[in-house]
């Protein structure tokens, strides 16, 4: 766990990419992309259909260790509008356990706009203590925590380079890494991020043993 301050609130980040707001007993997670694997099936690409199970198990195992009552999902929880219909029983049970045990806030992501599911209410945006929880960051000067971009960073260690997921933060913005096990990433050096961050942001690199915060210029 590493502590970061955002809008004068104290947050903790875990190595697997969850943001904890312990003062409020909240866990925040972004971009689960459930059933991404099976979404390729109709085109004849049969990826191992276990990603949802893996993602949800990982998530439940991490948050059960802490005193959490509420979970905010920052969108793209489901990979496509039919994701639900493809879930195995095991995954459905896991999902049910999850939403029964916690108060889950679903923020709407771009992958879910066409989704119709009566039991889930999607928020375009969720606001708490002046912090806006949204899927994709906006240009407004408001404190916002978002996902969408799946940021990853690359760092050179000796002669080798390693790439890992990361959190990016500046004054108004905190962008979270994707959590789903089949999600890829967008390097923080991509020009898209230049448009979002005016200054060099803080980058928290999720390593296997620990979370590292290197100065921005060391990222490749």
């Amino acid at each position: 766990m590493k502590t970061i301050n955002f809008n004068n609130h104290k947050f903790q980040i875990s190595r697997d990419g969850i943001l904890f707001w312990f003062d409020k007993q909240i866990a925040i997670i972004s971009d689960l992309h459930l059933e991404k694997g099976s979404s390729f099936g109709s085109s004849g690409q049969f990826l191992p259909p276990y990603d949802s199970e893996e993602t949800l198990t990982k998530l439940l195992n991490t948050i059960k260790k802490y005193n959490i009552t509420k979970v905010i999902l920052l969108g793209d929880t489901f990979h496509d509008k039919n994701a639900f219909s493809r879930m195995s029983n095991k995954v459905l049970i896991l999902f049910e356990t999850f939403i029964k045990k916690y108060e889950v806030i679903f923020v709407l992501g771009n992958h879910e706009t066409k989704m119709k599911f009566e039991h889930i209410k999607f928020f375009n945006e969720y606001v708490l203590d002046g912090i806006h929880f949204i899927h994709q960051t906006s240009k407004k000067c408001i404190y916002q925590i978002s996902g969408h971009y799946h940021p990853v960073a690359t760092i050179r260690t000796g002669a080798k380079k390693i790439t890992g997921k990361c959190f990016i933060q500046e004054q108004y913005n905190l962008i979270m890494p994707s959590y789903g096990v089949y999600t890829g990433g967008l390097n923080i050096r991509n020009k898209i991020f230049k448009k979002i961050f005016k200054k060099e942001p803080n980058v928290y690199f999720l390593g296997k043993r620990s979370i590292y915060k290197f100065p921005y210029k060391f990222y490749l």
């Binding site: 694997g37 099936g41 085109s43 260690t157 002669a159 096990v181 089949y182 043993r209 290197f214």
Partner: protein, 807 residues
């Protein structure tokens, strides 16, 4: 020569050129006429190709078979070879005005020509295993191959025991069911396991191996030089002046090197010496096709004095007038060296001329061993490999693409292919399930099956788009993602993406024989400009370095263990070994020499452990990881290790107290399985298997997918699959490949058996002479330390933080 031949036009053509048939050519024809499938084993340049085609030419000329039907199929492992053979065969055909159409079909053939070949097949078609698989996946393939009379496979020894060979073998079995009377002729270089090659060629009973002995012995020497042979390194820069002198004296020289990076460097250095302005060219697999073709044609026209080449020029092609072959660095294996030597004086009855240039001291011993082995007619043995299941998966889909199949018929056809002869029906069905819908225990994908039973109980593809996609994914070679190097409008060739990623704007590197300055990447092109820099970074390419072969390694140990051999060594080598025997000991023929000594590394005392295994780089690397693990467990705090073909050096913070605990084989193999699961190698092999088997596509029509994305995705899949279905087909394939490949498990187990109770241990107070090359190597190599990456991160963070004053 009295013979029963009535191939008048060929007789005439030979007479016109003052040539005559070789005995083995007549023999091949007779055997084939009597219904034998023939494997012709002969050294290069023995008129092998004509021997292969003689039965077919005879039939075409004398029996005038059906018009507009494919009569003869010629398969070679190299595109360039099909083109070359096509040209050579056309000489007599055109000269004698024969009505025989010969065409090639490879990845380079235009769509127009391919279509025409479909409608109007040539008499003879020359192709590669991959293009053959594609041709066979067409709907009309059964009819197309129905009248095939002759099948010739060139350089067949290269294909046996490889995934490419698996694919070919499956298709050979398929062709057999379409045209059962077709006669086969295999052409092979001299190999140890001829019978395996024969079995690979044909499953018929009436077969014969024709063995043509070499009539002349190659003249091979090791370069004599007044310069010091370096302790370590692979570039042989010390010998460039001497090499240049040799090139000057010959009319056409090929300088063989082992890697593309070496090729670039040697080429560059030779031009620095080139005061006589000799025409020196470069040839390797990463260069643009046009550039390679140009060099090849200049060679055959005699318009070049020297070519620096990698294995891209190893095989088959008849260049004619090369009078000297120079091998820089050890050839690493006997068979490969023979093949390369055969490039010179490509005439049957004249000796080849070759010069070996060791690039370091150990390689001197290796080069000498290679010469001894050739004198004693020793050959490398290739380990037998059972047919890969990922290739079978690709094949099953290919069969379904051409026509619906019956399961039992296909199974019988598959086990008729030599590499798959032991395949059980259960395994076959497992692969079939995988092709259908991924083969997961979760039956979710059934609705999307690629192939399904039709009303006649035959398996058929669901729709046409599956065939189109199959065609984009044919083949067993998975290359790393390459970027085109562009100088202005010219494409010079390709380099691996990761190499370019390591460069910064303005960095310089050697490529295609030029020093280039890296500018930027634009749409998958590396934009470069020419520069006058003289100290370029050298491009490095993944793979390419073969480990020292088992046979050669035995020869090296023999040389070392018997002092009477040493007197013929150059002084510097002799002195080095003498010093070693005085100071420590020499490795014995069957045992293992282990040395330990303390040494300062950046001011800190470290303990070095050296094992002189001589088991090749791959086995040594694996052993290194295993010993590292064990040392970690017993508290020696190992730091890192370096592995070469000859030895392994591990250094640690604490001293190793008991060598026997470290080298106990039982414990070691347990560790191996555990370790393998964590290696990047397994991931890489999984990716290859996933692509070959069709789980991940090379490319999707209309959608561009970069090589990097494939890698990223396959890693994610790998982790999930390993957890949920650890026995999945593709994981099994990846593990098998890892054990066979870089890990060299067989060799390692044999090694551990060999050294049991046969370890000589020397505790020294300082570095031994034999260890010097190894310690120097430490500074050159950066090992793949994926396990220790995290240590580096911690260190790095602290270092950087103090540097910027935050710590």
């Amino acid at each position: 020569m009295p013979h029963i031949l009535k191939i008048k036009p060929i007789d005439n053509w030979l007479k016109k050129n003052n040539w005559n048939y070789y005995d083995h050519q007549i023999e091949t024809l007779k055997l084939s006429q009597n219904g034998f499938d023939v494997l012709l084993v002969a050294p290069t340049g023995g008129g092998k190709t004509l021997a292969g085609f003689l039965p077919s030419l005879n039939d075409l000329i004398n029996n005038r078979p059906k018009k507009n039907k494919l009569h003869t199929l010629y398969i070679s492992p190299l595109k360039a070879l099909t083109i070359d053979v096509h040209r050579n065969l056309n000489n007599p055909i055109e000269d004698q005005g024969l009505d025989i159409r010969v065409e090639t079909r490879t990845g380079d053939t235009s769509a127009y020509k391919k279509n025409r070949q479909k409608v109007l097949p040539p008499h003879m078609l020359m192709t590669t295993p991959e293009s053959l698989a594609l041709l066979l996946s067409n709907k009309e393939s059964k009819d197309y191959f129905k009248d095939l009379r002759y099948l010739i496979i060139d350089e067949i020894h290269v294909l046996v025991n490889s995934k490419r060979g698996d694919l070919l073998s499956l298709n050979l079995s398929r062709i057999n069911s379409m045209s059962p009377d077709c006669k086969r002729i295999g052409l092979s270089a001299t190999v140890k396991n001829k019978n395996t090659v024969l079995k690979f060629l044909t499953s018929k009973k009436k077969t014969k191996i024709l063995n043509v002995e070499e009539t002349s012995h190659p003249k091979i020497e090791i370069l004599e030089t007044n310069t010091r042979v370096p302790w370590s390194g692979h570039m042989a820069s010390y010998a460039i002046k001497d090499i240049y002198q040799k090139i000057k004296k010959s009319s056409l020289t090929i300088v063989f090197v082992n890697t593309r990076a070496q090729a670039e460097l040697v080429f560059n250095k030779l031009w620095q010496e080139n005061d006589k302005n000799l025409r020196i060219a470069i040839h390797h697999g990463s260069l643009e096709k046009e550039i390679r073709r140009k060099v090849e044609s200049l060679m055959s026209l005699g318009k070049i004095d020297c070519v620096v080449a990698t294995s891209s020029l190893d095989l088959g092609i008849d260049w004619g007038d090369i009078d000297l072959v120079i091998q820089i660095g050890s050839p690493k294996g006997i068979s490969r060296f023979l093949q390369r030597i055969g490039r010179s004086n490509h005439k049957f009855d004249e000796p080849s001329n070759a010069l070996l240039v060791p690039s370091n001291r150990f390689e001197y011993l290796e080069c000498l061993s290679a010469i001894n082995s050739i004198k004693n007619k020793l050959l490398d043995e290739t380990k037998e490999k059972k047919g890969s299941l990922d290739v079978l998966a690709q094949h099953i889909l290919g069969v379904a693409c051409s026509a619906p199949f019956h399961v039992d018929e296909l199974y019988n056809q598959v086990i008729n292919a030599w590499p798959y002869r032991h395949l059980t029906k259960i395994k076959f069905f497992e692969v079939l399930e995988f092709v259908k819908n991924g083969g997961y225990s979760l039956k979710y994908y059934e609705q999307y099956s690629k192939i399904a039973l039709n009303k006649n109980k035959l398996y058929a593809i669901k729709n046409k788009s599956i065939r189109n996609r199959y065609k984009l994914n044919v083949g067993t070679i998975v290359e790393s993602y390459m970027l085109k190097v562009k100088l202005g409008n010219r494409t010079l060739g390709q380099v691996e993406e990761w190499f370019i990623e390591g460069l910064n704007e303005g960095d310089t590197f050697l490529f295609s024989g030029r020093v280039l300055e890296y500018q930027t990447i634009l749409n998958d092109n590396v934009i470069v400009k020419s520069t006058s820099h003289t100290q370029p970074k050298i491009p490095s390419y993944a793979g390419g370095r073969l480990p020292l072969s088992t046979e050669l390694s035995i020869e090296v140990r023999k040389l070392l263990s018997k002092k009477q051999f040493w007197k013929n060594f150059p002084n510097q080598i002799n002195e080095w070994l003498k010093l070693q025997s005085k100071f420590s000991n020499l490795p014995s023929l069957n045992g293992l020499l282990v040395e330990t000594f303390p040494r300062l590394v950046s001011g800190k005392k470290r303990f070095f452990l050296i094992c002189y295994t001589f088991e090749g780089r791959n086995a040594n690397q694996t052993l290194g990881f295993l010993i590292l693990r064990k040392m970690q467990r017993i508290g020696c705090k190992p730091i890192s290790f370096v592995a070469t073909d000859y030895a392994l050096a591990i250094w640690s913070i604490n001293e190793v107290k008991d060598i026997n605990i470290i080298l106990n084989d039982d414990l070691m193999l347990d560790d191996l399985y555990e370790w393998l699961e964590e290696t990047p190698l397994l991931k890489k092999n999984f990716r290859d298997a996933a692509i070959i088997s069709g789980l991940i596509e090379r490319s999707i029509p209309g959608q561009k997918k970069t090589g990097k994305q494939v890698l990223f995705n396959s890693d994610l899949i790998f982790n999930v699959l390993r957890k949920h279905e650890p026995k999945h087909l593709l994981l099994e394939v990846a593990r098998d490949d890892s054990y066979r490949g870089l890990i060299d498990l067989d060799r390692l187990s044999e090694f551990l058996k060999r050294i049991e109770n046969n370890i000589t241990y020397k505790k020294l107070d300082r570095i031994s002479p034999l260890a010097v090359p190894l310690i120097l190597e430490i500074n050159r190599q950066t090992i793949d330390k994926s396990e220790m990456e995290e240590y580096f991160l911690e260190e790095l963070e602290n270092e950087i933080l103090s540097e910027v004053g935050l710590n």
